[in-house]
Protein backbone atom coordinates (compact mmCIF):
# COMPACT_ATOMS: atom_id res chain seq x y z
CA UNK A 1 0.00 0.00 0.00
CA UNK A 2 1.43 3.36 -1.07
CA UNK A 3 1.58 5.96 1.70
CA UNK A 4 1.47 9.64 0.73
CA UNK A 5 2.14 12.82 2.68
CA UNK A 6 -0.94 15.00 3.26
CA UNK A 7 0.26 17.48 0.63
CA UNK A 8 0.75 14.65 -1.89
CA UNK A 9 -2.76 13.28 -1.17
CA UNK A 10 -4.28 16.70 -1.95
CA UNK A 11 -2.22 16.99 -5.16
CA UNK A 12 -3.17 13.48 -6.28
CA UNK A 13 -6.85 14.21 -5.62
CA UNK A 14 -6.62 17.40 -7.65
CA UNK A 15 -5.01 15.55 -10.53
CA UNK A 16 -7.61 12.77 -10.44
CA UNK A 17 -10.37 15.39 -10.55
CA UNK A 18 -8.69 16.78 -13.69
CA UNK A 19 -8.60 13.25 -15.13
CA UNK A 20 -12.28 12.65 -14.39
CA UNK A 21 -13.25 16.06 -15.73
CA UNK A 22 -11.36 15.42 -18.98
CA UNK A 23 -12.89 11.97 -19.51
CA UNK A 24 -16.46 12.52 -18.28
CA UNK A 25 -18.85 13.20 -21.13
CA UNK A 26 -16.75 11.36 -23.71
CA UNK A 27 -19.07 8.95 -25.36
CA UNK A 28 -16.74 5.96 -25.54
CA UNK A 29 -14.84 5.94 -22.24
CA UNK A 30 -15.50 4.99 -18.65
CA UNK A 31 -14.25 7.74 -16.29
CA UNK A 32 -14.23 5.42 -13.25
CA UNK A 33 -12.01 2.96 -15.07
CA UNK A 34 -9.58 5.58 -16.38
CA UNK A 35 -9.33 7.18 -12.94
CA UNK A 36 -8.57 3.82 -11.35
CA UNK A 37 -5.96 3.04 -14.03
CA UNK A 38 -4.23 6.36 -13.41
CA UNK A 39 -4.31 5.75 -9.65
CA UNK A 40 -2.72 2.31 -10.20
CA UNK A 41 -0.15 3.82 -12.56
CA UNK A 42 0.91 6.37 -9.96
CA UNK A 43 1.20 3.66 -7.29
CA UNK A 44 3.24 1.39 -9.61
CA UNK A 45 5.54 4.25 -10.71
CA UNK A 46 6.22 5.18 -7.06
CA UNK A 47 6.64 1.63 -5.82
CA UNK A 48 10.45 1.78 -5.57
CA UNK A 49 10.41 5.20 -3.86
CA UNK A 50 10.84 5.77 -0.12
CA UNK A 51 7.54 6.27 1.68
CA UNK A 52 5.66 8.37 2.54
CA UNK A 53 5.60 9.73 -0.99
CA UNK A 54 6.23 13.48 -1.08
CA UNK A 55 4.51 15.92 -3.39
CA UNK A 56 7.77 16.39 -5.36
CA UNK A 57 8.04 12.66 -6.05
CA UNK A 58 4.39 12.59 -7.08
CA UNK A 59 4.80 15.66 -9.26
CA UNK A 60 7.45 13.95 -11.42
CA UNK A 61 5.02 11.06 -12.12
CA UNK A 62 2.16 13.46 -12.86
CA UNK A 63 4.42 15.38 -15.22
CA UNK A 64 5.15 12.20 -17.19
CA UNK A 65 1.44 11.32 -17.25
CA UNK A 66 0.76 14.72 -18.80
CA UNK A 67 -2.30 17.03 -18.83
CA UNK A 68 -5.46 14.85 -19.03
CA UNK A 69 -7.26 17.22 -21.42
CA UNK A 70 -4.62 16.37 -24.04
CA UNK A 71 -5.31 12.65 -23.80
CA UNK A 72 -8.57 12.65 -25.68
CA UNK A 73 -9.34 13.85 -29.20
CA UNK A 74 -12.02 16.52 -29.60
CA UNK A 75 -14.01 14.12 -31.78
CA UNK A 76 -14.88 12.10 -28.68
CA UNK A 77 -16.52 15.08 -26.95
CA UNK A 78 -20.29 15.31 -26.75
CA UNK A 79 -21.92 18.70 -27.37
CA UNK A 80 -22.66 19.04 -23.64
CA UNK A 81 -19.06 18.25 -22.75
CA UNK A 82 -18.00 20.89 -25.27
CA UNK A 83 -20.27 23.46 -23.60
CA UNK A 84 -19.06 22.46 -20.14
CA UNK A 85 -15.42 22.77 -21.27
CA UNK A 86 -16.18 26.16 -22.78
CA UNK A 87 -17.67 27.34 -19.48
CA UNK A 88 -14.83 25.86 -17.42
CA UNK A 89 -12.63 29.02 -17.49
CA UNK A 90 -15.56 30.98 -16.01
CA UNK A 91 -15.75 28.46 -13.16
CA UNK A 92 -11.99 28.66 -12.62
CA UNK A 93 -12.14 32.45 -12.41
CA UNK A 94 -14.97 32.18 -9.88
CA UNK A 95 -12.89 29.71 -7.84
CA UNK A 96 -9.90 32.06 -7.93
CA UNK A 97 -12.10 34.83 -6.56
CA UNK A 98 -13.36 32.54 -3.80
CA UNK A 99 -9.76 31.64 -2.93
CA UNK A 100 -8.96 35.35 -2.66
CA UNK A 101 -11.55 35.77 0.11
CA UNK A 102 -9.66 36.00 3.42
CA UNK A 103 -10.32 34.38 6.77
CA UNK A 104 -13.39 32.47 7.88
CA UNK A 105 -15.34 33.04 4.69
CA UNK A 106 -12.61 31.22 2.76
CA UNK A 107 -12.60 28.33 5.26
CA UNK A 108 -16.38 28.02 4.97
CA UNK A 109 -16.23 28.14 1.16
CA UNK A 110 -13.44 25.58 1.12
CA UNK A 111 -15.48 23.30 3.36
CA UNK A 112 -18.44 23.47 0.94
CA UNK A 113 -16.17 22.70 -2.03
CA UNK A 114 -14.67 19.73 -0.16
CA UNK A 115 -18.13 18.43 0.70
CA UNK A 116 -19.24 18.69 -2.94
CA UNK A 117 -16.05 16.94 -4.08
CA UNK A 118 -16.64 14.10 -1.64
CA UNK A 119 -20.23 13.62 -2.77
CA UNK A 120 -21.08 10.59 -4.81
CA UNK A 121 -19.92 11.75 -8.23
CA UNK A 122 -23.14 10.86 -10.05
CA UNK A 123 -25.14 13.29 -7.92
CA UNK A 124 -22.93 16.36 -8.17
CA UNK A 125 -24.35 17.70 -11.41
CA UNK A 126 -27.91 16.92 -10.31
CA UNK A 127 -27.40 18.99 -7.15
CA UNK A 128 -25.71 21.74 -9.14
CA UNK A 129 -28.55 21.86 -11.70
CA UNK A 130 -31.16 22.21 -8.96
CA UNK A 131 -28.97 24.63 -6.98
CA UNK A 132 -28.66 26.96 -9.96
CA UNK A 133 -32.41 26.71 -10.60
CA UNK A 134 -33.21 27.51 -6.97
CA UNK A 135 -30.68 30.35 -6.94
CA UNK A 136 -32.40 31.83 -9.99
CA UNK A 137 -35.69 31.82 -8.04
CA UNK A 138 -34.05 33.64 -5.15
CA UNK A 139 -32.27 36.24 -7.31
CA UNK A 140 -35.25 36.54 -9.61
CA UNK A 141 -34.05 39.32 -11.98
CA UNK A 142 -31.18 36.99 -12.91
CA UNK A 143 -33.50 33.99 -13.35
CA UNK A 144 -33.02 33.64 -17.15
CA UNK A 145 -29.21 33.43 -16.77
CA UNK A 146 -29.46 30.90 -13.91
CA UNK A 147 -32.07 28.92 -15.83
CA UNK A 148 -29.82 28.61 -18.89
CA UNK A 149 -26.86 27.54 -16.72
CA UNK A 150 -29.07 25.07 -14.84
CA UNK A 151 -30.43 23.70 -18.13
CA UNK A 152 -26.91 23.13 -19.52
CA UNK A 153 -25.82 21.33 -16.34
CA UNK A 154 -29.01 19.22 -16.33
CA UNK A 155 -28.44 18.23 -19.98
CA UNK A 156 -24.84 17.30 -19.14
CA UNK A 157 -26.07 15.13 -16.26
CA UNK A 158 -28.59 13.41 -18.54
CA UNK A 159 -25.89 12.78 -21.16
CA UNK A 160 -23.63 11.21 -18.53
CA UNK A 161 -26.43 9.03 -17.17
CA UNK A 162 -27.23 7.85 -20.69
CA UNK A 163 -23.54 7.24 -21.42
CA UNK A 164 -23.14 5.13 -18.28
CA UNK A 165 -26.45 3.42 -18.92
CA UNK A 166 -27.50 3.87 -15.28
CA UNK A 167 -31.06 4.52 -14.06
CA UNK A 168 -31.86 8.15 -13.30
CA UNK A 169 -33.74 7.33 -10.07
CA UNK A 170 -34.38 10.16 -7.64
CA UNK A 171 -31.97 12.44 -9.52
CA UNK A 172 -34.88 13.28 -11.83
CA UNK A 173 -36.37 15.52 -9.12
CA UNK A 174 -33.25 17.71 -9.26
CA UNK A 175 -32.70 17.58 -13.01
CA UNK A 176 -36.25 17.81 -14.37
CA UNK A 177 -37.31 21.32 -13.16
CA UNK A 178 -34.99 23.30 -15.49
CA UNK A 179 -35.51 20.78 -18.29
CA UNK A 180 -39.31 20.90 -18.02
CA UNK A 181 -39.42 24.68 -17.87
CA UNK A 182 -37.08 25.28 -20.81
CA UNK A 183 -38.59 22.48 -22.91
CA UNK A 184 -42.15 23.71 -22.22
CA UNK A 185 -41.24 27.27 -23.23
CA UNK A 186 -39.51 26.03 -26.38
CA UNK A 187 -42.43 23.80 -27.36
CA UNK A 188 -45.00 26.54 -26.78
CA UNK A 189 -42.90 29.05 -28.75
CA UNK A 190 -42.22 26.62 -31.60
CA UNK A 191 -45.82 25.43 -31.82
CA UNK A 192 -47.53 28.79 -31.63
CA UNK A 193 -45.31 31.40 -33.26
CA UNK A 194 -47.40 31.41 -36.48
CA UNK A 195 -50.41 32.65 -34.43
CA UNK A 196 -48.62 35.95 -33.86
CA UNK A 197 -48.00 36.24 -37.62
CA UNK A 198 -51.72 35.72 -38.32
CA UNK A 199 -52.78 38.23 -35.69
CA UNK A 200 -50.21 40.80 -36.82
CA UNK A 201 -51.45 40.64 -40.43
CA UNK A 202 -55.02 41.51 -39.46
CA UNK A 203 -53.86 44.72 -37.79
CA UNK A 204 -53.36 46.08 -41.32
CA UNK A 205 -57.15 45.97 -41.98
CA UNK A 206 -58.52 49.54 -41.83
CA UNK A 207 -61.70 50.09 -39.78
CA UNK A 208 -63.43 51.71 -42.76
CA UNK A 209 -63.45 48.31 -44.51
CA UNK A 210 -64.98 46.33 -41.65
CA UNK A 211 -68.55 46.76 -42.89
CA UNK A 212 -67.76 45.70 -46.46
CA UNK A 213 -65.56 42.81 -45.24
CA UNK A 214 -68.36 41.65 -42.92
CA UNK A 215 -70.57 41.30 -45.97
CA UNK A 216 -67.99 39.26 -47.89
CA UNK A 217 -67.21 37.08 -44.89
CA UNK A 218 -70.87 36.71 -43.84
CA UNK A 219 -70.16 37.91 -40.30
CA UNK A 220 -70.99 40.99 -38.28
CA UNK A 221 -68.66 43.94 -38.92
CA UNK A 222 -67.85 43.95 -35.16
CA UNK A 223 -66.11 40.56 -35.35
CA UNK A 224 -64.33 40.97 -38.68
CA UNK A 225 -60.92 41.44 -37.10
CA UNK A 226 -61.05 38.46 -34.62
CA UNK A 227 -62.52 36.15 -37.29
CA UNK A 228 -59.85 37.16 -39.81
CA UNK A 229 -57.11 36.79 -37.18
CA UNK A 230 -58.40 33.34 -36.20
CA UNK A 231 -58.60 32.25 -39.83
CA UNK A 232 -55.05 33.39 -40.62
CA UNK A 233 -53.66 31.93 -37.37
CA UNK A 234 -55.28 28.52 -38.05
CA UNK A 235 -53.84 28.52 -41.57
CA UNK A 236 -50.35 29.51 -40.46
CA UNK A 237 -50.33 27.03 -37.56
CA UNK A 238 -51.62 24.11 -39.62
CA UNK A 239 -49.08 24.70 -42.40
CA UNK A 240 -46.26 25.09 -39.85
CA UNK A 241 -47.32 21.93 -37.99
CA UNK A 242 -47.44 20.00 -41.25
CA UNK A 243 -43.87 21.05 -41.96
CA UNK A 244 -42.70 20.37 -38.37
CA UNK A 245 -44.36 16.93 -38.30
CA UNK A 246 -42.71 16.00 -41.61
CA UNK A 247 -39.35 16.88 -40.05
CA UNK A 248 -40.18 14.64 -37.05
CA UNK A 249 -41.26 11.78 -39.34
CA UNK A 250 -37.90 12.09 -41.14
CA UNK A 251 -35.87 12.54 -37.90
CA UNK A 252 -37.91 10.79 -35.16
CA UNK A 253 -35.24 11.25 -32.47
CA UNK A 254 -35.18 15.03 -32.85
CA UNK A 255 -37.89 15.78 -30.22
CA UNK A 256 -36.02 13.69 -27.63
CA UNK A 257 -32.85 15.68 -28.30
CA UNK A 258 -34.54 19.09 -28.34
CA UNK A 259 -37.11 18.70 -25.57
CA UNK A 260 -35.94 16.42 -22.79
CA UNK A 261 -37.33 14.67 -20.85
CA UNK A 262 -40.77 14.33 -22.45
CA UNK A 263 -39.59 14.73 -26.05
CA UNK A 264 -38.70 11.03 -25.98
CA UNK A 265 -42.45 10.22 -25.90
CA UNK A 266 -42.82 11.86 -29.28
CA UNK A 267 -41.64 9.85 -32.29
CA UNK A 268 -42.54 8.92 -35.84
CA UNK A 269 -46.08 7.70 -35.02
CA UNK A 270 -46.94 10.86 -33.10
CA UNK A 271 -45.43 12.90 -35.94
CA UNK A 272 -47.70 11.09 -38.38
CA UNK A 273 -50.76 11.79 -36.22
CA UNK A 274 -49.93 15.51 -36.01
CA UNK A 275 -49.35 15.57 -39.75
CA UNK A 276 -52.79 14.05 -40.42
CA UNK A 277 -54.48 16.46 -38.00
CA UNK A 278 -52.73 19.52 -39.41
CA UNK A 279 -53.35 18.35 -43.01
CA UNK A 280 -57.07 17.99 -42.21
CA UNK A 281 -57.08 21.47 -40.64
CA UNK A 282 -55.32 22.80 -43.75
CA UNK A 283 -57.95 21.25 -46.04
CA UNK A 284 -60.77 22.79 -43.98
CA UNK A 285 -58.89 26.09 -44.01
CA UNK A 286 -58.48 25.94 -47.80
CA UNK A 287 -62.23 25.36 -48.23
CA UNK A 288 -62.71 28.97 -47.12
CA UNK A 289 -60.00 30.16 -49.49
CA UNK A 290 -62.46 31.72 -51.94
CA UNK A 291 -64.02 33.92 -49.23
CA UNK A 292 -60.56 34.77 -47.91
CA UNK A 293 -59.38 35.68 -51.40
CA UNK A 294 -62.34 38.06 -51.88
CA UNK A 295 -61.63 39.67 -48.51
CA UNK A 296 -57.92 39.97 -49.22
CA UNK A 297 -58.62 41.61 -52.58
CA UNK A 298 -60.79 44.20 -50.84
CA UNK A 299 -57.99 45.04 -48.41
CA UNK A 300 -55.26 45.14 -51.06
CA UNK A 301 -57.31 47.18 -53.52
CA UNK A 302 -58.41 49.78 -50.96
CA UNK A 303 -57.80 53.32 -52.21
Amino acid sequence: MTVYTQEAIVRLDEYLIEVRSAITGRSSMNPDEVEQDVRDHVAAALEPANQPITVDQLESVIERLGPPEQWVADSHRTIWKYLADTLKPVGHRALDQIRAIPGEAYVAGRSIVTKVRDMKDDWRLAYLAFGLFAMGMIVFPLFPAFLIASYIVARTEMAIIRERNTPMGARRWFVYPPLLLVSSCLIIALASWPISVGVALTHEIPHSLHGELGGVMHVSSKVVQPVAATYLAIGAVSIWWMFASLVVIRYPKLPAVLFPPFGSKFGRLEGLLVFLLSATASVVWLSFADTAWQAAKLVVEQP
Binding site: T2, N30, E33, A44, G66, W71
Partner: protein, 116 residues
Protein backbone atom coordinates in the same frame (compact mmCIF):
# COMPACT_ATOMS: atom_id res chain seq x y z
CA UNK B 1 7.74 27.18 -39.40
CA UNK B 2 9.64 23.95 -40.18
CA UNK B 3 9.57 22.94 -36.55
CA UNK B 4 5.83 23.71 -36.22
CA UNK B 5 5.06 21.69 -39.34
CA UNK B 6 7.11 18.74 -38.08
CA UNK B 7 5.51 18.90 -34.61
CA UNK B 8 1.98 18.87 -36.10
CA UNK B 9 2.88 16.03 -38.40
CA UNK B 10 4.37 13.87 -35.64
CA UNK B 11 1.36 14.58 -33.41
CA UNK B 12 -1.04 13.38 -36.10
CA UNK B 13 1.13 10.36 -36.87
CA UNK B 14 1.46 9.44 -33.22
CA UNK B 15 -2.31 9.52 -32.62
CA UNK B 16 -2.96 6.73 -35.09
CA UNK B 17 0.08 4.63 -34.33
CA UNK B 18 -0.34 4.71 -30.56
CA UNK B 19 -3.52 2.61 -30.81
CA UNK B 20 -1.64 0.07 -32.92
CA UNK B 21 1.19 0.18 -30.37
CA UNK B 22 -1.16 -0.52 -27.44
CA UNK B 23 -2.71 -3.53 -29.17
CA UNK B 24 0.70 -4.77 -30.39
CA UNK B 25 2.16 -4.57 -26.86
CA UNK B 26 -0.59 -6.96 -25.69
CA UNK B 27 0.01 -9.49 -28.43
CA UNK B 28 0.33 -12.95 -26.87
CA UNK B 29 0.55 -11.69 -23.27
CA UNK B 30 -1.20 -9.97 -20.40
CA UNK B 31 0.17 -6.64 -19.17
CA UNK B 32 -1.02 -4.12 -16.62
CA UNK B 33 -1.31 -0.46 -17.52
CA UNK B 34 2.05 0.69 -16.18
CA UNK B 35 3.82 -2.16 -18.01
CA UNK B 36 2.19 -1.17 -21.30
CA UNK B 37 3.42 2.39 -20.74
CA UNK B 38 6.96 1.14 -20.09
CA UNK B 39 6.89 -0.99 -23.24
CA UNK B 40 5.67 1.87 -25.40
CA UNK B 41 8.09 4.36 -23.80
CA UNK B 42 10.91 2.34 -25.35
CA UNK B 43 9.76 3.44 -28.82
CA UNK B 44 11.29 6.90 -29.31
CA UNK B 45 8.78 9.69 -29.93
CA UNK B 46 5.68 7.49 -29.68
CA UNK B 47 4.35 8.81 -26.38
CA UNK B 48 4.51 12.39 -25.17
CA UNK B 49 2.17 11.85 -22.20
CA UNK B 50 2.15 8.47 -20.47
CA UNK B 51 -1.49 8.92 -19.44
CA UNK B 52 -2.64 8.92 -23.06
CA UNK B 53 -2.98 5.15 -23.13
CA UNK B 54 -5.62 4.93 -20.39
CA UNK B 55 -8.49 6.50 -22.35
CA UNK B 56 -7.44 4.30 -25.28
CA UNK B 57 -7.57 1.17 -23.11
CA UNK B 58 -11.00 2.21 -21.79
CA UNK B 59 -12.27 2.68 -25.34
CA UNK B 60 -10.77 -0.62 -26.49
CA UNK B 61 -12.44 -2.36 -23.58
CA UNK B 62 -15.80 -0.87 -24.42
CA UNK B 63 -15.31 -1.84 -28.08
CA UNK B 64 -14.46 -5.43 -27.05
CA UNK B 65 -10.86 -5.35 -28.32
CA UNK B 66 -9.32 -5.95 -24.88
CA UNK B 67 -10.51 -7.44 -21.61
CA UNK B 68 -9.16 -6.95 -18.11
CA UNK B 69 -8.72 -9.15 -15.05
CA UNK B 70 -7.64 -8.27 -11.52
CA UNK B 71 -4.60 -10.27 -10.39
CA UNK B 72 -3.32 -10.27 -6.81
CA UNK B 73 0.19 -8.80 -6.50
CA UNK B 74 2.88 -9.48 -3.89
CA UNK B 75 4.16 -5.94 -4.30
CA UNK B 76 0.95 -4.10 -3.48
CA UNK B 77 -2.77 -3.98 -4.30
CA UNK B 78 -4.32 -6.19 -6.98
CA UNK B 79 -3.30 -5.17 -10.50
CA UNK B 80 -5.55 -4.92 -13.49
CA UNK B 81 -4.10 -6.91 -16.38
CA UNK B 82 -5.20 -6.29 -19.94
CA UNK B 83 -5.21 -8.87 -22.73
CA UNK B 84 -6.48 -9.01 -26.29
CA UNK B 85 -9.85 -10.58 -27.01
CA UNK B 86 -10.32 -12.65 -30.18
CA UNK B 87 -11.79 -9.51 -31.81
CA UNK B 88 -8.75 -7.54 -30.64
CA UNK B 89 -6.40 -10.14 -32.17
CA UNK B 90 -8.26 -9.99 -35.49
CA UNK B 91 -8.23 -6.17 -35.54
CA UNK B 92 -4.53 -6.10 -34.62
CA UNK B 93 -3.73 -8.47 -37.52
CA UNK B 94 -5.66 -6.23 -39.92
CA UNK B 95 -4.00 -3.08 -38.56
CA UNK B 96 -0.53 -4.60 -38.88
CA UNK B 97 -1.16 -5.57 -42.52
CA UNK B 98 -2.42 -2.08 -43.23
CA UNK B 99 0.50 -0.48 -41.39
CA UNK B 100 3.11 -2.60 -43.25
CA UNK B 101 1.46 -1.83 -46.56
CA UNK B 102 1.57 1.95 -45.90
CA UNK B 103 5.13 1.80 -44.54
CA UNK B 104 6.41 -0.28 -47.50
CA UNK B 105 4.53 1.90 -49.96
CA UNK B 106 6.08 5.09 -48.57
CA UNK B 107 9.54 3.47 -48.53
CA UNK B 108 9.17 2.38 -52.16
CA UNK B 109 8.28 5.96 -53.14
CA UNK B 110 11.48 7.37 -51.67
CA UNK B 111 14.21 4.69 -51.66
CA UNK B 112 16.92 7.29 -51.19
CA UNK B 113 15.12 8.94 -48.25
CA UNK B 114 17.97 8.16 -45.86
CA UNK B 115 20.33 10.41 -47.85
CA UNK B 116 18.35 13.53 -48.86
Amino acid sequence: MDSEFFDNWTTQLRKGILELGVLASLRGRKLYGYDIVKQLSMIPGLMISEGTIYPILSRFKRDGLVSSTLVESNEGPARKYYELTSLGRRELARMRVSWRSVRDGIDSLSPEAESP
